[in-house]
């Protein structure tokens, strides 16, 4: 174990803060080398300043980094990684720190490489519908740069105002509109990376059809474990001619779910379909007075985009299908302001539950869309059994659930029960053929659940990819995989602790 003590899954309460030890001799020796590579004001060693980097968006896991370095160029990132590799010091990349699985959790014995100063939009090529950006550029800034050309950057995670494109690549971020427009991996055609041994190289050439293996596809979503991205070629998408946003209120989530099935069954592919249950609506109402229809047990937000005539036709069809499924009120946004009003409640939901509960866990699981009603019933039953409230907010179109498990963190029993309930929800997702994470990533938070989804041979095969990129195991170690096999080791039945672990040369957590 490191001094990082895994806390409850995805909890937003403040966890125990451990005191960072002084930097090791290896780290101290690195300080002048990093300062030489990147400049004297780029290396942070002060414990108080280091503390500000102790966690990402998932505050339950905290660990002050040994050192922080803020390079400004790809060459500097490469120099930092080379120095770390030479010294055998682990390193972790961090963008804006908005991740929700502890993927950018630092190492006390390592270097945190923060890409926040790499913020140039290098090129916008509207004729090719491509842009080249540095990893610290925010997701929304790409769309803003593309906007004068009638283009936008399609992946839109809810943190898009602050999250970085580099972090989006690491996590393969989606967003509410990925139902129609796809994830980050569908919109990246070239990556300049620093490999874990410090070499600067391009994956792909921006065409989307480069010869050789699809290393862009393999790298995207690898949660910072295969290298550090230093430039990204993204695809830009034409801004749709028309957008309609509908809000439909139902008595129950079951009725809302029926409407979702009917819409998809009719061959309509909305840009987004979002649902909130009664408790989530109540929280949002208390927080931002979103004025959703009174008495709604569930609200559905359906956004349609595309050519004007098509959107008009689809809007009429969706209204009809929602009514048939039992919608008692349907609102249609006529302009951007009304659209924003409809989205306000949904966007505020995570923060809003903070007002009705001292602490909560944001879960992220996926089930096949048709299993939604059954899984929601199961969650409701599990919630009752445990005496723990669960608010449900979800991307209904793609079956991506975000149950918010509400508990009182001053009660150890409640905290433990919330943790168990949260894990049980993931078990339900797996049992229904789903996934333990749709968009937040595995990070440190869910690595222990990964073996519930994948067998030893599956995980070993993933490790082959890891070993091809990072044989020394220094690049964001300890994330995604619970017990990574060391590269070069023959896979097979393991008895007792690994010899390197037993001898203290390696650690597994």
């Amino acid at each position: 174990m490191t001094e990082h003590a895994p806390g409850p899954s995805t909890s937003h309460r403040s966890g125990g803060i451990s005191q960072p030890p002084g930097p090791s001799a290896a780290l101290t020796a690195l300080i002048p080398r990093l300062a030489e590579a990147c400049g004297p004001d780029t290396v942070i060693t002060d414990p108080m300043e280091l503390r500000t980097y102790e966690c990402d968006g998932l505050t339950a896991h905290r660990c002050s980094p040994g050192l922080v370095v803020l390079p400004e160029t790809a060459a500097q990132v490469a120099a930092v990684v080379r120095a770390c590799a030479a010294a055998g010091v682990p390193f972790v990349a961090r963008g804006s720190g908005t991740g929700l699985s502890g993927g950018a959790l630092p190492r006390a014995d390592g270097v945190l490489i923060v890409t926040a100063r790499m913020r140039r939009i290098i090129e916008v090529d509207p004729a090719s519908r491509r842009a080249i950006v540095e990893p610290g550029v925010t997701n929304l800034a790409v769309s803003q740069a593309a906007e004068p050309f009638g283009l936008f950057y399609a992946p839109d995670p809810s943190s898009q105002k602050i999250c970085s494109v580099g972090g989006n690549v690491a996590e393969n971020s989606g967003g509410a509109h990925c139902l129609k427009h796809g994830f980050t991996v569908h919109h990246v055609t070239g990556l300049e990376i620093v490999t874990p041994d410090g070499e600067l190289t391009w994956l792909g050439d921006g065409t989307g059809a480069a010869p050789g293996y699809d290393l862009i596809g393999a790298f995207t979503g690898s949660e910072g474990t295969l290298g550090i991205v230093t430039k990204i070629v993204v695809r830009l998408t034409p801004v749709p001619q028309a957008v309609t946003t509908l809000l439909a209120a139902f008595e129950t989530t079951g009725h809302g779910g029926a409407a979702v099935s009917a819409i998809i069954g009719a061959g309509i592919l909305p840009a987004a379909i979002e649902m909130m249950d009664a408790l989530a609506i109540e929280a949002a109402e208390a927080a931002v007075a979103c004025r959703y229809p009174q008495g709604a047990g569930a609200v559905l937000i359906v956004e349609l985009d595309g050519p004007e005539t098509d959107v008009l036709g689809e809007t009429a069809a969706v209204r009809k299908l929602a009514e048939q499924a039992g919608a008692f009120e349907i609102r249609e946004a006529a302009d951007p302001a009304e659209r924003a009003a409809i989205w306000t409640g949904r966007r505020s939901a995570f923060a809003a539950v903070g007002r009705i509960s001292p602490a909560y866990i944001v879960q992220d699981g996926v089930v096949p869309r048709t299993a939604l009603p059954e899984v929601l019933d199961r969650i409701s039953a599990l919630s009752e059994q445990a005496g723990i409230r669960v608010a449900n907010v979800f991307h209904a179109g793609d079956g991506n659930l975000h149950p918010l498990v509400l508990f009182d963190d001053s009660s150890p029993e409640q905290s433990a029960a919330a943790e168990v309930l949260s894990g049980a929800i993931l078990d339900e997702c797996i049992a229904h053929g789903g996934s333990i994470t749709g968009e937040h990533g595995v990070g440190v938070d869910k690595s222990r659940y990964l073996p519930r989804m994948f067998g030893p041979d599956d995980l070993d095969t993933m490790q082959l990819l890891r070993c091809a990129f990072d044989p020394a195991g220094l690049c964001n170690p300890g994330k995604i995989f619970p017990t990574p096999r060391l590269c070069g080791e023959v896979p097979g039945v393991r008895r007792g602790p690994h010899p390197l672990v037993a001898s203290g040369q390696a650690e597994i957590f």
Binding site: I122, E123, P126, G206, G212, D214, G438, L465
Partner: protein, 497 residues
């Protein structure tokens, strides 16, 4: 070539029920295997590969064999593993718009199954004649080759629709990644790695895909242009218009032929009809646009579908379409050849096909000249005119001078700021001094690539089929991890992988 009459090793017959001695028809790019095996399940494939690994046999997977001549000949080939008995549509969850399919299922058969529920796998690779029936080949073959057709503009390539995969590694271990939900970021995406890997990492036995509804209506707007520059303009008009094309193809059979363009629109019947008529109006009378419910005969059957001879795939940044067309014709002129050119112009993928009896030296010259030209890319200031020497290659018959600025203006459309000289406040805020104006020197080393998909052996001897490959060292490391004994399709892929 005489086939070895040695008996089939017992471990293979023990592992798989359908094992036979290979015949000359089973040769892989001219290399004669000894044995052909057709496992009917992932378990059987696993036992087979384990036995093959123990025996040190080199293995080449095969579907219908329609693209088996893609890539270099294998260094060794002892055992061909045929996927045709892995022919089950394992699950079609219509409500979830996903399907799990074994690798040997043919695309045409899958289309029938999905079509019954009004759904489709939005992949339309060219149909090639194969050793056991073409029809677009098998799921495994399409995945392994990454083959895609006109729909790639909207729906991407096989890797974009793949959500889960089951593979058998060279050592026989069975591994899966992804799953049966579209939104899933748990673990590494091994499926992406196998998509387009040409059998060099292992055997794909099953794949799960995201599906799409069959559109209620499809319309094809076709234009015929006297000059390539006009064709480029039609494509840019289509892309910039609200028509929202799902595909935009170009076909230019010979340098003296007119250049044909066809744009496909999908969706709501009323919407599609209106958009098609509006687009035809934007295209203009000169190009004699027509609107039809069916594609033209050349749709998906251009140079990409030529089964023999040499076929090149040229991938590029879509804004460089005019430059790429000019360079293809310039390289052909330099080599004394006149290839058929066509493909998914709007998506930045063209093909050039040469007949089997072409002079191999000339074909090699074309490839070398073209690689040098597009590999160099545009000058740093892309506002430059197309070089003097290239202009006649795209010039309209009226003799009007064509410049790059013309092409760029054509692409920028009527109601949007031109690519040159303007960029948004967001870009300025990020300190992007060059955004939207000129090509920076900071992008990838090349912004186009030329791959020889297949070629007669005499051509293959003269050219590197894959050309320069970015990050080849990492690819070799991946290969070495997955297949350290180099038994999976050795030597067939980029960089001799």
């Amino acid at each position: 070539m005489p086939v070895a009459a040695e008996p089939i090793p017992a471990p293979l017959t023990a592992a798989c029920a359908a094992v036979r001695t290979a015949t000359p028809a089973d040769a892989v790019a001219g290399v004669q295997p000894r044995i052909v095996a057709a496992p009917a399940s992932t378990q059987e494939a696993s036992a087979l590969l384990r036995a093959a690994a123990d025996l040190g046999l080199a293995v080449v997977p095969r579907g219908t064999g329609s693209r088996l001549d893609w890539g270099s000949p294998p260094e060794r080939c002892d055992l061909v593993i045929e996927t045709t008995r892995l022919d089950q549509v394992v699950e079609h969850a219509a409500g979830d718009l996903v399907a799990a399919v074994q690798a040997g299922v043919r695309l045409d058969r899958l289309a029938e199954v999905l079509g019954a529920a009004g759904q489709r796998l939005a992949l339309d690779p060219p149909t090639l004649p194969g050793t056991s029936g073409g029809a677009g080949g098998t799921i495994g073959g399409v995945l392994a080759t990454g083959a895609a057709g006109p729909l790639r503009l909207r729906y991407g390539t096989p890797r974009d629709l793949l959500i889960g995969i089951t593979v058998v590694r060279a050592d026989g271990a069975v591994a899966k990644s992804g799953g049966k939900v579209v939104k899933n970021v748990a673990g590494y995406d091994i499926g992406k790695l196998f998509a387009g890997s040409r059998g060099t990492l292992g055997l794909i036995t099953q794949a799960t895909f995201r599906l799409h509804p069959v559109p209620a209506e499809t319309a094809y707007v076709t234009a015929e242009c006297a000059a390539a520059v006009d064709a480029c303009r039609v494509i840019s008009v289509a892309l910039e218009s609200p028509a929202s094309p799902v595909a935009a193809e170009l076909d230019w059979p010979a340098v003296s032929d007119p250049v044909r363009v066809c744009v496909a629109l999908e969706g709501d019947p009323a919407g599609v009809a209106g958009r098609a008529i509006a687009l035809a109006g934007l295209v203009g009378h000169d190009a004699a646009p027509s609107v039809r419910p069916d594609p033209p005969p050349w749709w998906g059957a251009g140079p990409a579908a030529q089964p023999d001879g040499t076929v090149l795939q040229i991938a590029f940044w879509p804004g460089d379409l005019g430059m790429v067309l000019a360079e293809i014709r310039a390289a052909a002129e330099a080599a004394g050849l006149d290839p058929a050119v066509g493909g998914s112009a709007a998506a930045g993928v063209l093909y050039a096909a040469l007949p089997p009896d072409g002079d191999p030296g000339a074909v090699a010259t074309l490839v070398a000249v073209l690689r040098a030209a597009v590999g160099r890319g545009l000058p740093a200031d892309s506002g430059h005119h197309l070089p003097e020497s290239r202009q006649p290659l795209l010039r309209a018959r009226s003799g009007a001078r064509l410049t790059f600025a013309d092409l760029r203006r054509g692409r920028a459309g009527a109601d949007r700021p031109a690519a040159n000289g303007q960029h948004g406040a967001g870009a300025a805020a990020e300190g992007a001094g060059t955004a939207g104006r000129a090509r920076s020197g900071e992008g990838p080393p090349a912004r186009a690539n030329v791959v020889v998909l297949h070629a007669p052996p005499a051509v293959g001897d003269l050219v590197d089929l894959f050309g320069p490959v970015p990050s080849l060292a990492l690819m070799r490391a991946v290969k070495n991890q997955f297949d350290p004994a180099r038994t999976m399709a050795p030597g067939r892929f980029a960089g001799g992988i």
